[in-house]
C-alpha cells in the first residue's frame, strides 16, 4: 500500500510539497523521534492541502487490489500523507509503534483524527485500536463520525455487534445515508432490527418522519410478526421510502413481504421503484429455487 499511496501523492503534489513529504518520510526511519513525527503528522494539511484524491480508474484498480472494500477516493491529499506516515513507521517495535500511533490520534485536531480513522484499517493488527475507533463514534463532529462510519471497512470487520449497531443507529440520527456503511448487508442482526424498529415507532409516536433508508437496517432481521408494521411504507407518498423498502424486502424469504411486493408491482408509478421491486422479486425467486 505504501507504494500505491506514494505514487498517487507524487502525481498530485507540487514539487515543493512532495519534497516536504519526502522529508517527513525520512523522519519515520530509525532513529524515530516521536515529536518530530507528530509534527509532520500535524503539518500535513497545511503542507499538502486538503483537496480530495479523486482517483483515476487505474489508481482505483491498484487500491482495490490491496483490498476490494477499500475506498480512498474521498480522502484528502493530507489524509493520504498521514496514512503513508503511519504505514512507514511499522518497522518500530510493536509497543512503541502502537504508542506513537495512538498519540497521533489523541493529540490530533479533528482533521488529524479523521485521517487516522480512515487509515486505521490499513495498519498492522488494526484490532488493537478498536476501543479508540468505537470511542470515535461518540463524537458530535459529523465529519469525524463519517470518517469511521462511512466508506470505511473497519467497523464491519472489527466492531463488536453492540458498537456496530449503535453506529448504524447514530448514522440514521445524523441523516447519513446507510448505503455509505461498508458491508451493512452482511452484518444485519436481530438486535439491529429491534433497535431500528423501536426507532421507527418512536418517530411515529412523536409525529415525525422516519428516515427513508431505515429499512436497510430494519427489515432483514425483523421478526415475521412485525413485518406488516413496515409494509405500509410500500405505498408511502415518498418514492424513497418505497425504493429502500423494496430493496430491503429482497433480503427476506417470508411470504408477507413477497406478497406485498407482488401486489405493488402492478401499480407502482415510479420507474426506479418499479425496477427495485422487480430486482427484489427476482432475487427472492432465485433464493426459492
Amino acid at each position: 500500500m505504501n507504494e500505491v499511496l506514494a505514487a498517487i501523492l507524487r502525481k498530485r503534489l507540487a514539487p515543493q510539497a512532495w519534497s516536504w513529504v519526502e522529508k517527513a518520510l525520512a523522519a519515520t526511519q530509525p532513529p524515530v523521534h516521536a515529536n518530530t513525527v507528530l509534527g509532520y503528522y500535524a503539518g500535513a494539511s497545511r503542507r499538502a492541502g486538503k483537496q480530495a484524491l479523486q482517483l483515476d480508474p487505474d489508481e482505483t484498480a491498484r487500491v482495490r487490489a490491496v483490498d476490494p472494500e477499500l475506498e480512498i477516493g474521498l480522502w484528502g491529499v493530507d489524509e493520504a500523507v498521514r496514512a503513508l506516515l503511519l504505514l512507514s513507521l511499522t518497522h518500530m517495535p510493536a509497543d512503541d509503534y502502537a504508542d506513537l500511533v495512538l498519540r497521533c490520534y489523541e493529540l490530533g485536531d479533528s482533521r488529524e483524527q479523521q485521517s487516522w480513522l480512515r487509515a486505521l484499517f490499513l495498519l498492522p493488527k488494526p484490532e488493537r485500536f478498536v476501543n479508540t475507533a468505537t470511542d470515535a463514534c461518540r463524537t458530535n463532529i459529523q465529519p469525524l463520525f463519517e470518517a469511521i462510519a462511512c466508506e470505511n471497512p473497519y467497523p464491519i470487520r472489527y466492531f463488536p455487534e453492540l458498537n456496530f449497531n449503535q453506529m448504524v443507529v447514530k448514522a440514521l440520527f445524523s441523516r447519513i445515508e446507510l448505503k455509505r456503511i461498508v458491508g451493512l448487508g452482511k452484518r444485519h442482526n436481530s438486535e439491529l432490527a429491534r433497535m431500528t424498529f423501536d426507532y421507527q415507532r418512536e418517530r411515529e409516536a412523536a409525529g415525525r418522519s422516519v428516515p427513508e433508508d431505515i429499512w436497510l437496517a430494519l427489515v432483514p432481521g425483523l421478526p415475521v410478526e412485525n413485518v406488516p408494521r413496515v409494509l405500509t411504507y410500500l405505498s408511502d407518498p415518498s418514492p424513497n421510502h418505497r425504493y429502500w423498502l423494496a430493496v430491503a424486502l429482497g433480503t427476506r424469504m417470508d411470504a408477507a413481504g413477497r406478497d406485498a411486493l407482488e401486489a405493488r408491482r402492478g401499480i407502482e408509478p415510479d420507474t426506479r421503484v418499479a425496477k427495485a421491486i422487480q430486482t427484489s422479486l427476482e432475487a427472492l425467486n432465485q433464493l426459492r429455487t
Binding site: E106, T134, D135, C137, R138, T139, N140, I141, L162, N163, Q166, V169, K170, F173, R194, M195, D198, Y199, R201, E202, A205, A206, G207
Partner: protein, 293 residues
C-alpha cells in the same frame, strides 16, 4: 409566574441568555455535569469543570438574580474511558459533599455498554452514601431499552425510586417511567427530543404528578427559554395555572429539595442582585454600571 429550569448547561451560554431567562421569570436552575462536546483526556479536566460549576457559574447566575445549583457525576459517554472513569469516581466523594450539589448526575446509558453500566451502578451507590437523589440521562439511540435498563439498575440496587429523576422522556418512555416511583423529565428542544405542543398533549393525557420539564440548553441548537415557552403553550391548550406551576416550579423544587441542599423557603425569595460583587477578583461586567437591588 416564576420558573425552575432543572436541566440547563449554562457554561455553554452567554450573559444575554441569563438576562433573557431572568426577565422570562426563571429564578432557579440546575446545571448537570455532562460532556463538553468532545471527550476529555485527563481527570484534571473534570476537577476544573466541577470547580467551575460550583464557583464561577454559580456566581455568574447570581449576578442576574438566578439561583444556580448543580448535579455532579461522570456522564455515560466518558464512562467508556476506563482511565478517566476510575479517576472521576475517586473524585466524586469529595465533590458530592459540597454546598449546592443537589444530585448525582447526569449518569446512565449512552451506547449501553458494560462499562457504562458499571459506572452507573457505582454512582447510584455514591448517591445513596451521600444522601443525594440521582438524575438519569436516557440515551438518544435505543431509548426505550435504555430507559428500561436504567429502571432495572435502580430497582436491582433497591435505590428509593422517589429520589430518581429519569430525563429526556418521550411518548414511548413516559408511561414506563410513570409506572415506577421515579420522576419523569422532558427536554424541550427546537428540533429533537420533545417539543412544546407534544409536551402539552402528554400533560393532558398523564397529568402533572412527577412530571418535570427542562430546556437542556447547551452548546447545540437549543433554547434556554423553553420552560416558560412550554408553559405558555400549555396555557393556550387550556391547562390550569395550578398544574403549570406544579410542573414548572413545585415538582423540580420538591425533587431536588430531597438533597437537603436546596431550601424551598430560600428559593421562594428572589435573590438580591449585587453586580458590584466580584468572584476571585472577576466581575461579569465589562464597564457597565452595576445593577444593585
Amino acid at each position: 409566574m416564576k420558573y425552575f429550569d432543572p436541566h440547563v448547561h449554562m457554561t455553554s451560554r452567554t450573559t444575554d441568555d441569563y438576562t433573557a431567562m431572568a426577565s422570562a421569570g426563571i429564578r432557579v436552575i440546575v446545571e448537570p455535569a455532562f460532556w463538553l462536546g468532545q471527550p476529555r483526556t485527563e481527570v484534571g479536566s473534570f476537577i476544573d469543570y466541577f470547580n467551575s460549576l460550583l464557583g464561577w457559574e454559580r456566581f455568574r447566575a447570581s449576578q442576574f438574580g438566578i439561583r444556580h445549583f448543580c448535579t455532579l457525576g461522570l456522564n455515560p459517554k466518558e464512562a467508556n474511558n476506563p482511565r478517566l472513569a476510575e479517576g472521576v469516581i475517586d473524585l466524586l466523594p469529595r465533590y458530592l459533599q459540597k454546598d449546592g450539589v443537589v444530585a448525582v448526575g447526569e449518569v446512565g446509558f449512552d451506547d449501553q455498554t458494560a462499562a457504562e453500566e458499571r459506572v452507573f451502578i457505582c454512582q447510584v451507590e455514591l448517591a445513596r452514601e451521600f444522601g443525594l437523589p440521582v438524575l438519569i440521562h436516557t440515551p438518544h439511540r435505543d431509548k426505550k431499552k435504555g430507559t428500561l435498563r436504567s429502571i432495572s439498575v435502580v430497582r436491582d440496587l433497591k435505590f428509593p425510586e422517589e429520589r430518581v429523576l429519569i430525563d429526556h422522556n418521550n411518548e414511548e418512555t413516559l408511561p414506563l417511567v410513570l409506572d415506577t416511583g421515579c420522576w419523569a423529565g422532558h427536554s424541550v428542544y427546537p428540533n429533537t427530543k420533545m417539543d412544546e405542543q407534544r409536551m402539552a398533549k402528554l400533560v393532558k393525557e398523564y397529568g402533572s404528578k412527577r412530571i418535570i420539564v427542562n430546556s437542556a440548553a447547551d452548546w447545540g441548537v437549543s433554547d434556554p427559554l423553553k420552560v416558560p415557552k412550554t408553559a405558555a403553550v400549555m396555557r393556550e391548550a387550556g391547562i390550569s395555572e395550578a398544574m403549570i406551576e406544579k410542573i414548572m416550579w413545585s415538582n423540580p423544587a420538591d425533587f431536588f429539595a430531597q438533597s437537603d441542599n436546596l431550601s424551598l423557603a430560600d428559593i421562594d425569595r428572589r435573590p438580591n442582585i449585587n453586580q458590584t460583587e466580584l468572584f476571585e477578583g472577576n466581575s461579569v461586567l465589562r464597564g457597565q454600571t452595576p445593577v444593585v437591588d
